[in-house]
């Protein structure tokens, strides 16, 4: 981390440094090109390029002039004019006043800020490149023709060609939304403050206080957050490790020389991958429903009665997905069912890469299978799969599909405190925030929860990668 920071610093200095030098020592065209990008290129004899960059600059300025600046001016309040519609007798129609839409203001402001930053940076780059052209001409050499310039982007600067579109996509569909969501966490955007008919505004850290237990007696977000976070972490831990070890053990069991027809067995387990996850999840949820077929089977063979006698259930059926404790257990079991074939597939590939002579040597030295597993196979697997395990853990923290499809419309909470903040016992942070936005339009709390999810994931990832790197260092 420290290394990248230093490198970043020096890169930044180089960037600003070269701009400063170019601006101070540049001729009139170089200086003018900061204001109108094309002027410098015209002055330095590159007409095509001049037209192109001026066109891009024009687009940016047009956006800022028509909507960007207006929104930025209202950014401090997020709008003050509420929508009002009055009946106009002259036209016999409802007339809506020129109202402010808080969300559009927020969105356009974020976009404008990004556009302004990008345009300033681009202007500085234009100046630097013009200074280079000026120097080339001062030495009496010819500058690149347009075709030569295009060629540079297929050679030395090929990465620019490659990265432009994907980076643009990420900026539009990930970065801008994230900035907006982070901003929403500091506003009172909820059902009572829904644009366009209502305005919302900045409220500082009030939503964070609510999440950590403040917000008066009626707000139970603090209680729900603790409960949901705990279950999210427990779930992620079990979901990751049960499927990982399940997959490894199954792969080893099938790979073993004593197992006949390994290919057939592998295919049998992989049939379940062929069916899309949402189909199997919706199917299984009906399989395990209170009046479902599995409960009928359990009742017929007396398991339900046995469990009732043991005091584990108090109903005439087994509440697989309707009782908090049972539901958590069932969800983890179903997740094993879903995840193990995938993990088996990957583990099979990785296991084949373990040097056979290493295992052979251990065998000759008298190691038993258990020792071989814990001393050779497992360290090797963890070494190769360590980073994948970390990403799996993060994916499971955000495992929306399994929880949502298994419990939505099926599980209802009886805990008043949880229900007051629209949470359930089986909710993960992500399903909770999804429901908050989709059913209760409580965007402010959803945004705060989203930021919390990010913090949990980030802390976990950084800590575990530290650990992995350290362990690798001590091993070698």
């Amino acid at each position: 981390m420290a290394k990248t920071a230093v490198r970043l610093d020096s890169g930044e200095k180089g960037f600003f440094g070269s701009f400063g030098e170019a601006f101070v020592k540049g001729d009139i065209f170089t200086k003018l090109s900061f204001v109108i990008w094309g002027l410098g290129y015209i002055g330095h004899g590159q007409l095509m390029k001049a037209l192109l960059v001026t066109f891009v600059q024009g687009l940016g300025l047009y956006f800022l002039a028509t909507s960007g600046i207006q929104s930025l001016m209202k950014f401090g309040t997020l709008g003050t004019v509420k929508m009002e519609s009055t009946f106009d007798f002259a036209t016999m129609k409802n007339v809506v006043n020129n109202y402010d839409n808080s969300f559009s203001i927020l969105l356009l402001s974020v976009v404008s800020i990004i556009v302004i930053v990008a345009m300033v940076a681009a202007g500085m780059m234009v100046v630097a490149s013009n200074y280079d052209l000026q120097k080339i001409r001062a030495q009496g050499k010819k500058t690149n023709t347009f075709l030569q310039d295009v060629n540079v982007y297929l050679n030395e600067k090929f990465y620019v060609t490659l990265l432009t579109l994907p980076v643009l996509g990420v900026v539009i569909f990930t970065i801008v939304p994230l900035f907006i969501l982070i901003a929403v966490a500091f506003t009172n955007y909820d059902q009572q403050h829904m644009p366009p008919s209502d305005l919302f505004t900045w409220v500082g850290f009030a939503n964070f206080l609510t999440l950590f237990g403040g917000g008066g007696l009626t707000a139970t977000f603090g209680y729900s957050f603790r409960k949901v976070l705990t279950w999210t972490l427990v779930w992620a831990f079990f979901a990751t490790f049960t499927t990982f070890f399940g997959g490894v053990l199954l792969a080893m069991f099938i790979n073993d020389k004593k197992t006949k027809l390994p290919k057939l067995w592998r295919t049998l387990f992989m049939v379940s991958i062929a069916v899309p996850q949402f189909v199997t999840l919706l199917l299984v949820r009906n399989f395990f429903s209170d009046t479902g077929i599995f409960n009928t089977m359990m009742a017929n063979c007396g398991v339900t009665g046995l469990l009732r006698n043991m005091g584990l259930i108090h109903t005439t059926y087994i509440p697989f997905l309707t009782d908090p404790g049972w539901a958590k257990f069932t969800i983890i079991m179903i997740n094993i069912w879903i995840g193990v074939p995938y993990q088996m597939l990957i583990a099979t590939g990785v296991l084949m890469n373990i040097p056979a002579d290493m295992l052979e040597a251990a065998k000759i030295d008298g190691a038993n299978p258990v020792q071989m597993f814990f001393r050779i196979t497992l360290p090797y697997l963890l070494n190769v799969q360590g980073p994948a395990l970390v990403t799996d853990f993060v994916k499971n923290i955000n495992n929306f599909n399994v929880i949502y499809l298994l419990t939505q419309d099926v599980f209802a909470t009886h805990d008043q405190a949880l229900a007051a903040s629209n949470a359930k016992e089986v909710d993960l942070l992500v399903t909770w925030l999804f429901r908050l936005t989709q059913e209760y339009y409580n965007y402010k709390m959803a945004a705060v929860i989203g930021i919390m999810v990010f913090i949990v994931c980030a802390v976990f990832t950084v800590v575990s990668f530290r650990f992995i790197n350290k362990r690798e260092a001590t091993f070698s």
């Binding site: 990248t4 490198r7 890169g11 180089g14 559009s104 969105l107 050679n155 030395e156 090929f158 490659l162 990265l163 579109l165 994907p166 980076v167 990420v170 539009i172 569909f173 990930t174 939304p177 907006i180 969501l181 199954l250 073993d256 049998l268 992989m270 049939v271 379940s272 991958i273 062929a274 069916v275 899309p276 949402f278 189909v279 199997t280 199917l283 009906n286 479902g292 077929i293 009928t296 069912w337 074939p341 990957i346 099979t348 590939g349 990785v350 084949m352 799969q385 994948a388 955000n398 929306f400 599909n401 499809l405 925030l433 999804f434 959803a446 989203g450 990010f454 994931c457 980030a458 990832t461």
Partner: protein, 296 residues
């Protein structure tokens, strides 16, 4: 002499039986596991042929078999089931997503793996950080952005959401590109090939497993995705839905007792293209994943 021979014979016999019993238990254990893994799938297939339209709570095997569920969802669409439309919608979205995502992933992976430039590590660290935000979270904001652009309830919007930030999923692919020998690229460069030519004519042809893996992955996404499609298309007309929300909708409280077996038939029909793809590509898939994971 004969006595010792007999004991050796007896021990051998014992060893053989022990081995046989062990092998029997091993395969019995596997068979039990396999049954557990196949029961829900079997239920899906059996129910899809059931004469009973709703869920059968009493018996695992339906009372009567019929092809009606399949013919119904395939040929007679009503307001609830428009399976052929959904199938086509999903196919179109999948094709577009496949092309755009694959290009994005390959481009980013090559730039980060084979090109050296100043902001490389900064961009890589940024991408890792951005990946930590849950997709669902960004989705909510993306929804508003699309709504402002009037792109909700349209396939274009859905494709943009799927493919837009697909460049972030470059890691496995980059791991694979890293294994392409540097000397090969250097040699091509000495022979006068441009970076673009090296990318298209050397690195891409050498990366067939990961190419196939990326293509399948992006093609399958719209078939298996649920949450994004629900968010973007749910409030629109049912004829514009993708398979996943269409099928999900069939299991609503009011419909499930009439449509459950048709839902199963739809599930089986969706599984067919996915499993065909999967069987063909399975080899590449494993190769791609393990090469990327082991050497990345």
């Amino acid at each position: 002499m004969t006595a010792t021979n007999a004991t050796v014979e007896k021990q051998l016999q014992q060893g053989r039986t022990k081995k046989l019993v062990g092998s029997l238990f091993r395969h019995l254990f596997l068979a039990v596991l396999a049954v557990i893994w196949l029961v829900p799938i079997a239920w899906l297939v059996l129910t899809s042929f059931s004469t009973d339209k709703g869920i059968n709570f009493k018996n695992f095997v339906p009372e009567g078999f019929t092809l009606w569920n399949y013919t119904n969802i395939l040929f007679s669409s009503d307001t609830v089931t428009q399976f052929p439309r959904w199938f086509m919608n999903t196919f179109v979205v999948a094709c577009f997503n496949c092309v755009i995502s694959t290009c994005f992933v390959l481009m980013v992976a090559y730039a980060f793996s084979c090109c050296r430039f100043k902001s490389r590590s900064l961009l890589q660290n940024l991408s890792v950080t951005v990946n930590l935000f849950p997709g669902v979270l960004a989705m909510i904001a993306v929804y508003f952005v699309l709504k402002n652009l009037n792109l909700t309830n349209s396939h274009a919007g859905l494709i943009m959401v799927y493919a837009g930030s697909s460049g972030l999923g470059y890691l496995i692919c980059k791991g694979f590109f890293d294994t392409v020998p540097v000397a090969l690229r250097e040699a091509a460069k000495l022979d006068g090939a441009s970076e673009a030519r090296i990318f298209f004519q050397i690195v891409i042809p050498m990366s067939r497993p990961i190419l196939v893996y990326t293509i399948i992955n992006s093609f399958m996404m719209p078939w298996t995705d649920f949450v994004m499609a629900k968010m973007i298309l749910n409030s629109g007309l049912s004829e514009n839905w993708t398979v996943s929300i269409g099928l999900y909708n069939m299991l609503g409280k009011a419909l499930i007792n009439n449509y459950f077996s048709r839902f199963c038939a739809g599930g089986v029909l969706v599984s067919i293209p996915i499993s065909i793809l999967f069987v063909i590509m399975q080899k590449f898939y494993v190769e791609g994943i393990t090469a990327g994971a082991a050497k990345g």
